[in-house]
Symmetry: C2
Subunit: 123 residues, 2 copies
Amino acid sequence: MDRSKALAALSALAHETRLDLIRLLTPQGNEGMAAGQIAETLGIAAPRLSFHLSALEQAGLLRSRKVARNVFYSVDPRGIGLTISYVLNDCCCDNPEVLAACGHGRDAAADQGVVAVSGTENT
Amino acid sequence: MDRSKALAALSALAHETRLDLIRLLTPQGNEGMAAGQIAETLGIAAPRLSFHLSALEQAGLLRSRKVARNVFYSVDPRGIGLTISYVLNDCCCDNPEVLAACGHGRDAAADQGVVAVSGTENT
DNA sequence: TTGTCAATTCAAGTTTTCTTGAATAGTTGA
DNA sequence: TCAACTATTCAAGAAAACTTGAATTGACAA
């Protein structure tokens, strides 16, 4: 993932409503959810939802498909994963302490004999 | 990490200059780098740098310490790690496809269906 | 065709974020 | 004390992002 795509994806993630959308849609898998149903679930106005869905899709974090009158939106797990990977890999150079703190890089952390992660917050 | 902190951290990451700062400072470890040296390295004006450094520190992604006339900034690996963890864990429910795509969830990806990795709050 | 429904686009206004030069605070050495 | 240096804060303006109601498009059913 290149610089500008990663930046677009991070900007897309950096909004409460859009984070809610990711949270809502991820468990729905590939089927996703129709815009109308999303709007109802989150209680937000249609144009506003459309704006945010479009931002996420533009950033490569969501996909959409039309079914009759409805448009179903689903997450693009690869888009999200690659964005995270960009931060960890390209920006943080796979820093072991970062990986340890994010809880998904045990190998790297262990391999490099990282100095004990200064007290984890929610353990 | 709670919702609003995660959002602040993501917003802080979603800017080119600030991503450059993370990229520059991560390899410097705890010692970090003085503001003036950072400004020179990245070629940006002092007030602008101050603005972005402060945004990152406010968001818990950087730390600072004064040494004589200088202020040294260094990354807070835990802040970055917990932010990533929030996205993967809280927003994406440790979705195996997301973890697989981000390349730091080998176990979960391999096991497909295991929700175990999240070093932060499992078992 | 006509009416209805689902979703998006438009336009306007508001708010937030970012950049820049000028001014300010704090530290050090002469 | 004074001058030099480092960094931050301030103020103003510019740019970008967000929200809202109205209008529009496209699909379907009667």
